[in-house]
């Protein structure tokens, strides 16, 4: 066991490096995925058949093809067509397109769930299409879509492990090398813990966003209230319980 710790200490800078790369891939992929999700989620609701058809094709294509194969395409095939991508760029692109396609369906579904009365009120107030979406519909859809987006974000985090195959030294890659100096149990056990902690942090952040989004709709407490651990009510109850 001691030798494992020594090996870990020696490898720690590289493991942390891997964690950082994984975080970059996750955040970069998520940012791109969100942009793609909003654009294609909205286009997929267009009343014009051509626009809708285009959006659907893109969504179905990137949902329906494997992430690994997409990454290979961006990293190994595109250079043959004259487009050289930095491995990180190829990784982020593949993650963004793949998870963006899933998230586009979430965005589309959430927008569809906003009651038609809300749309009608925006028409009665002569708002333009862009104003309707930006100021009324999307903010309401946003609160609905966060739980599903949280799921996808966790999947995306785990999906980053796939990009180690294109010379990116992410967390999984570093764990592979650590495993050679320690043992598989130790190295991959550590891996489970680190991925879990990362996923948990993402979940906490997304939960905070959800509390905030719901509060804006007049439902539930504000983020500040939710975060304050000391609630005056429970304080009184605890005091009374202690007395009896």
């Amino acid at each position: 066991m001691d030798s494992n710790i020594e090996a870990l200490v020696a490898a720690l800078p590289r493991v942390l490096d891997g964690v950082w790369i994984t975080i970059q891939l996750t955040l970069g992929g998520a940012a791109l995925a969100m942009v793609i999700a909003v654009i294609f989620g909205i286009l997929a609701r267009s009343s014009r058949t051509l626009v809708r058809g285009f959006a659907r094709t893109v969504i179905e294509f990137f949902r329906g093809t494997s992430l690994v194969v997409q990454i290979f395409w961006f990293f190994f095939v595109l250079p043959q067509l004259g487009v050289e991508l930095h491995p990180m760029a190829a990784g982020i692109l593949a993650l963004g397109l793949n998870y963006g396609a899933y998230a586009a369906e979430v965005v589309r579904g959430s927008i569809n769930s906003v009651p038609t009365g809300q749309w009608e009120a925006t028409t009665a107030l002569s708002m333009t299409r862009a104003q309707r979406m930006r100021r009324v519909i999307f903010p309401q859809a946003w609160a609905l879509m966060i739980p599903s987006l949280t799921n996808l974000l966790i999947h995306l985090l785990k999906g980053t492990a796939v990009v180690g195959t294109i010379t990116i030294t992410d967390l999984t890659f570093r764990l592979d090398s650590l495993q050679r100096d320690t043992n598989t149990f130790f190295a991959y056990g550590l891996g489970l813990v680190i991925y879990f902690v990362l996923a948990y942090i993402l979940t906490l952040i997304m939960n905070a966003l959800e509390v905030q989004a719901k509060h804006r709709l007049g439902r539930g407490e504000s983020l500040k209230e939710a975060l304050s651990l000391r609630s005056p009510d429970t304080g009184v109850e605890a005091g009374e319980a202690a007395k009896s």
Binding site: S126, Q131, G218
Partner: protein, 289 residues
């Protein structure tokens, strides 16, 4: 009665004109060549049995439904379709939006924006659609909130308000756009009976203090009688009878109108209409079965 002569276009251009309007939903024909006009400053109430097309008429004016045929003119200008050399052409979104700005609507289900406070709901369109400054819009909104009795609720969220309060905010929101035409579709049907009166009172006040043209659908016959200067009775997408409230409620000409009034407002036991002249309507307590 508000006068028609002080409007810039002169008194003879109707605020709303239906010209051979057709509306179909799939195979269901709701309106089949409907013609009628609403003059500036008129308060017209549409009544008629369920499914007769009253809501559809209001929604067509608000461009919430597409016309299947014919034309609607607002202040003499085509709303969504125009007749160009005998050809019926659809007008673009920009044109529709310009005309829409003159029309406000209050919905049965209020439809306030839950992602905004009461104040934000009211100033949203004046600021972003009419280009009013935020300060001016807020000042105006405070005046309107005062008018609907909710001066202390400007920072509340719609979901924190009762149904009656939400509907009053919705009225303020529609009025904040300073509409020439106000459409009211059964605005009290979703409310508890005891708060219907206060909402109708506010609308009566609006009718008394402005010259907004109103097109009203309601089952509150007393309100229709108090506010409107014209009543149109619809059945099967056609106007069966029209007249002043006085003529209409006291001397209905058509049998269908009489049947309808009997069914909707008559005392279920005595059969008396509550406003009929003659002996006061007996209270139900005094009746023997």
């Amino acid at each position: 009665m508000p006068s028609n002569t002080d409007s810039p276009n002169g008194g003879n251009v109707p605020a709303i004109r239906f010209d051979d309007v057709e509306k179909r939903f799939g195979d269901t024909v709701v309106l089949d060549g409907l013609n009628f006009t609403v003059n500036k400053g008129d308060r017209v109430t549409l009544i008629g049995p369920s499914g007769s097309g009253k809501t559809t008429i209001l929604r067509l004016v608000m461009t919430l439904e597409e016309l299947s045929g014919g034309y609607i003119y607002i202040d003499g200008e085509p709303l969504s379709h125009d007749n160009v050399d005998g050809k019926r052409v659809e007008l673009n979104e920009k044109h529709k939006n310009e005309i829409r700005k003159r029309i406000g609507m209050v919905f049965q289900q209020f439809n306030l924006f839950p992602n905004m406070t009461v104040m934000e709901n009211i100033i949203e369109a004046p600021v972003h659609v009419l280009g009013m400054s935020k300060d001016d819009a807020k000042e105006r909104a405070r005046g309107l909130l005062q008018q609907v009795g909710l001066a202390d609720k400007e920072d509340a969220h719609p979901l924190e308000l009762s149904g009656g309060q939400q509907q009053r905010v919705a009225i303020a929101r529609a009025l904040a756009m300073d509409p020439e035409i106000l459409l009211l579709d059964e605005v009290t049907s979703a409310l508890d009976p005891e708060i219907v009166g206060e909402v109708l009172g506010i609308l009566k006040h609006v009718a008394d203090t402005t010259d907004i043209t109103m097109l009203i659908v309601t089952h509150e016959m007393q309100f229709a009688r108090d506010v409107s200067n014209r009543i149109l009775m619809f059945d099967g997408g056609r106007i069966v009878e029209e007249g002043t409230p006085e003529e209409f409620f006291t001397h209905p000409k058509e049998q269908r109108t009489r049947d309808f009034l009997q069914a909707v407002v008559a005392d279920p036991i005595t059969g008396a209409l509550p406003w009929q002249p003659g002996p006061a309507t007996p209270t139900r307590d005094g009746d023997t079965l």
